[in-house]
Symmetry: C2
Subunit: 122 residues, 2 copies
């Protein structure tokens, strides 16, 4: 059936823009990249995404769960154990976000050089 022609992120009222806003986000990118390697518990995720605060990790995971990108698994243990993993939908997002992360890593040298040039100009 139809799908693309109706949605356009460039249209301010299009719902797809809300999805772009969630997905085009540095925390989302890093979390999805890490979860792409496999299911992980909260603490390990927090360690993997260096520097993320507990609050931000919790909030981002909630949003991703709400959008159907991440699934939350709670184990009734003590101390508690909670694991997160990408859903099938979330897996389709892994490639684009991994590509974006790799872009940042592969081109950072040129970006840094450009910044230096730009800043030196006054």
């Amino acid at each position: 059936m139809s799908q693309q022609p109706d949605w356009n992120v460039l249209v301010s009222t299009c719902p797809s823009r809300t999805s772009l806003a969630r997905v085009a986000n540095k925390w989302t990118a890093m979390i999805v990249v890490v979860l792409g390697r496999g299911r992980l518990r909260f603490g390990d995720l927090r360690t993997a995404v260096e520097g993320i605060s507990g609050k931000v990790l919790t909030e981002t995971l909630r949003d991703l769960e709400r959008d159907g990108l991440v699934e939350r698994h709670v184990y009734a243990e003590m101390p508690p154990r909670v694991e997160y993993e990408l859903t099938a939908l979330g897996c389709t997002l892994h490639e684009p976000l991994l590509a974006l992360s790799r872009w940042a890593e592969q081109h950072i040298a040129k970006v840094l050089a450009a910044r230096e040039t730009y800043d030196a100009r006054r």
Copy 2:
């Protein structure tokens, strides 16, 4: 020569994370997608990216210019004309960001359904 092994966006102090932060951004994504179709002047860019304010457009373009992703062409006319276009480096970013935008458009139906399910659960 070497490049990737040294950079990792997951490391909080790695410069590549600053680049990811700029690139994994909804305004950046929309602007780069639009500029991928060709050089455009400020006003047309503002029209194309529906709902963006002049301030945000100016600031984002400055940041992209500083990072060497966008080039600014000023014509000494009256009224003034300023055009923006992707640099060679910026062009390499177009595909990943277009892919991300398309992801948002192609999967928004499932995302909306997931949100409804999630929100209905209380």
